[in-house]
Amino acid sequence: MFNNDERYWKIHTLNKWFAISSILFLISMAWTFIDDNDDEFKIYQREFRKMEIEISEQNLQEELEFVKTDRLSHEKDLADAEAKLNTQQIKLDELENNLAGLQARHYNENMIYQSQKAEVDALKYLVESENAHQNNGDHHGPSYKDEHVAALDLLQDFRLIKEGTEIEISENEDAIKSMRADVKLRLDELNIVLKQVNIVDNKLKKIDRNRMTLANQVGDVVRDLPILDFLDPYYKINQVVVRDVKYDVNFAAVPKVDRCTSCHLGIDNPDFADTPQPYTTHPNLDLYITSASKHPMDNFGCTSCHAGRGRGTSFVSSTHTPNTPEDKERWKDEYDWEKMHHWLQPMLPTRYTQASCFKCHSNTSDLAGGEKLNLGLSLVDKAGCNGCHHNANWPSQAKAGPDLRKINEKLDEDWVAKWVKNPSHFRYNTRMPAIFQQDNQKSPEITAYNNVEIAGITEYLFKGKEKDRGKNSNRYIGDTENGETLFNSIGCMGCHISESVPESAPAVNSYYNLTKLQGPNLIGLGSKVTSEWLYEWLMNPQDYMSTTRMPNLRLSSQQAKDLTAYLLEHKNQDFENSPSHQYDKSMLDELIINMLKKSNPEKFARAKADKMDQQEKLNFIGEKSIRHYGCFGCHEIDGFENVAKSLSISMSAIKGGDLGWLNENIISNEIKSAIINAPVGSLSKPILLPEGILIFKIRDKRKIKKNLSLEEAKNQLVKAEKEKILNMHSISHYDKARRSISIKFFQ
């Protein structure tokens, strides 16, 4: 066609490149198919198939063992019945031949009958149309009625013949059946015995290629070929769609789809309890997974308890999380494991699985099967986490630490200061956290600050309370030995320990151990409380702390004295001998100024600080420190907040009556003068208002500088004046209206 020199490119080169590119394309297409179809889960499914065959064969052997004896007797019976039948074989053959003949005859007779029936129907039509058009006078030719009747008679004859043959056939069949009846009975009995065996055998036939027929073997291969595997593949994704449990994707909530069982194939099969992951059975099938359990898999899926990416079909993409660092290394080696960063709820490592129980079982810390969770929730309660960290799902029931409102009746300031500074110095396993003397508080500056704070806290706790510790007299001391016996027997040890050796104290790592630590470790009491206090406490704990969990043990006076004697024996010399708490007075001033500087210009802060005396300063620091360190999270402390919380009807009650900073102009007139004139820090007298009684305390006052232009200032003044005048007018108008309203009675 074309001369080669008319072309721009050499055709041979082009052909060569076409060939190369086509081959490359073919290879890449083949690679695409392979890449699409070599899923990871198929590896596990193939392995599982092998295991299933193995286990099923074992089961088969077991079943065969089980039915061995029964089977023999039934097989013998069956053989006998068959033998018997064999002797009658000639008769049986005759009957069957007969039957074949009868059936052939019946076929023909039926054909004759049916064709006659068609004729009859045709004639019927003619007769009926005759009857219908009788009055028309259109009828030509002879009547069909006679023909019709004759045909009917013939039909009846054919029918009788046919039915006769049918009866014969039926009799013949019955005869055959009765001859075979015995064999059939024996066979049925045998099958009942072999039922389980057959079930396992059928299963094996379906999964073991060696047991399949050739046709099935071919089908077994074809069903998993690429593209054709849309029909009914053997190796496929298994999934549970849980419509009611949703995964939040920020702009929608999609039902969870759990494909875990694509690899975790033995999860609901108790036979696989000894196999390695991922084939192994789920623990506790009575409680999970099975449809008879409380958490059937079809309703719950897998990820509602274990979290993770249910839609993933490979080890890494399902966001499995390793449980230990060793696991992590092993997974990185074996599975190229890496964390999938973009899945917001990765699988819970196995040590945290019980965390999911709380999603639904969120009202108890005593869930059967959730021991770890129970321990966790109990620890939260015990340690008082919720005192500071509010948790709507697990609110705190009570303050975790003792009530400090009557602290003056129990302790002295010296002891309290030392305790606050270092609680574990007194009691090594106290739950009170060490707030001071931490590693990042070791610098001399911070230490000095902290000492001031401790002194302030102590001062605040004892503010306004008279020292009333009770006497340490022998009047309250009884027999020590009897005290010890009582301590060990009447129930004290149900909640308390008295253990001065730290290694022997129960560790806080189990539910059971927590029960032994309901109350404090009763060591060092001799260096803490007076005998009078302890005696009164033992006789009636609620007197000192109304919310205590310690019950009234209904002790007799002597018993209480004996116990007092025993308990006070134990002293903590170390603690007693440690020096009293000291603080640096100049640090106190510095701290006060630093705190006041936060809400006042420095000049004002210094002025205020100068006006305070020593005690006022300590109280100020104390209140600020208690607020700062959060002591009230665990302890009831006397202060404004609690009274407000419990008694106020105002909206601010929740916050302990805190109104924050108020602008002068928005305070209503009745209380304005009272508020403006009240000194800072004092408690006001009750003021009677229409809404109720108001008691307030001014925490602080400040001036804010605002750049008011002359215009704005003028406007403000004008506005204020206008308001005043309007108010006056409205009041007088109201009065006038009230007086001028006349009410007439009609009768």
């Binding site: 590119s21 086509s22 394309f25 890449d35 917001l344």
Partner: protein, 372 residues
């Protein structure tokens, strides 16, 4: 030694330094005037367009990427699936510009000898559609399909978690074709960088054939015959667009702070951004008064500056340096050329004003969303 190399690259890639180097280098690479041409020949820069030059250029790019692959910080950016096209971009950009300039230089040599350019000797009238056009297209198509298929099998699509309105990624980068504009946003108000500039770029490119009346260089590669036009275009394309994309991809990290390619992307890095408007410079710092109430009075200096730049400069240029040019192409073309050209030049000018004077806006009227 590698560490020093990396430290040097980190310092060199700060926008101030790298942009300046490239701006200074551009006229030497694509010499628009005789003086630059002389320098180009003397320094042997033209040798970049030889086959050896191509090999060296590709080798240098590969060397940089290989060093970068083994650096833990650059590796993260380099191996992001989204950034693979940028790597391809750098290679293909270099190759195609090299190819064009190579052919252009070959032709320029021939033209200097008085010969006709290479394209003159090609069979001029017809080339058969089949097989010469369609067959090679077909082969190219198949090869490209193979490339795409292999790429898609080897690299999974970079899907992330469902969009969470409470958690924005940091940095939040535009797709690569908009990264140039996102980089411009550092220096310009969004109205200018996001709307005016793209519109001018598009309309400007449409207008090029109407503004350019040079009859030479049509139908054959040549640098010499069209050097001013090529220089202007290469500057705008390579430096003001491609380079900004590269900066946006590799050198911008969390909070859109600058990070050298081998630097760790520290999200807590704080850089003071004390930028001052021209009006603040004038009224507050120079005259020590407060800012005037009236927006127009306040920004009057800015208006004057813009006016001089956009209106007075072209008139002066038309009467002096560009006199011949103005007479050749006429006032309409000249005006369009000045409009687009001065706007384009405004980008590097504003960048330098920002870098050296911390200038925020020349005109700042936030009340009307009008900031330049």
């Amino acid at each position: 030694m590698i560490e020093t190399f990396k430290a040097v690259i980190d310092t060199l890639s700060t926008p101030t330094i790298s942009f300046t180097i490239l701006t200074v280098l551009a006229p030497f690479l694509f010499p628009p005037t005789d003086w630059f041409d002389k320098m180009n020949r003397k320094l042997g820069i033209w040798k970049l367009w030889t086959k050896a030059g191509c090999a060296i250029g590709m080798a240098f790019i590969s060397f940089f990427f290989i060093i970068g692959y083994f650096d833990p910080n650059f590796n993260i950016t380099l191996t992001k699936p989204d950034n693979f096209p940028i790597v391809l971009l750098i290679y293909s950009m270099f190759f195609y510009i090299w190819l064009g300039m190579h052919k252009a230089y070959k032709n320029d040599e021939r033209l200097e000898q008085g010969l006709k350019p290479n394209e003159y000797n090609d069979p001029d009238d017809k080339v058969l559609v089949w097989p010469d056009l369609v067959y090679i297209e077909f082969i190219a198509l198949i090869l490209f399909m193979v490339f795409l298929i292999v790429w898609s099998i080897l690299v999974a699509a970079p899907l992330e978690e469902p969009a969470n309105p409470a958690s924005t990624p940091n940095p939040s980068k535009a797709p690569w074709y908009f990264l140039g504009l996102q980089e411009m946003l550092v220096y310009f108000d969004p109205w200018i960088a996001g709307i005016i500039f793209p519109i001018f770029i598009i309309i400007g490119m449409i207008a090029i054939p109407y503004m350019d009346t040079n009859p030479k260089g049509a139908g054959y590669y040549s640098f010499k015959d069209r050097r001013v036009a090529i220089f202007i275009f290469m500057y705008g394309w390579l430096i003001l667009w491609i380079f900004l994309i590269v900066v946006g991809t590799f050198f911008r990290g969390p909070n859109w702070n600058f990070f050298g390619p081998f630097e760790y992307w520290d999200p807590h890095k704080v850089v003071p951004l004390n930028n001052v408007n021209l009006s603040e410079f004038f009224w507050v710092k120079l005259l020590s008064k407060g800012l005037p109430e009236n927006a127009l009075i306040r920004e009057s200096l800015g208006f004057i500056a813009i006016f001089i730049y956009m209106f007075v400069t072209p008139i002066i240029l038309a009467k002096t340096w560009l006199k011949d040019y103005f007479e050749k192409i006429g006032p309409i073309r000249y005006t369009s050329l000045m409009l687009f050209g001065l706007t384009m030049l405004g980008l590097p000018i504003k960048m330098y004003l920002r870098w050296f004077f911390n200038l925020k806006y020349i005109i700042a009227i936030p009340e009307w969303f009008f900031n330049i």
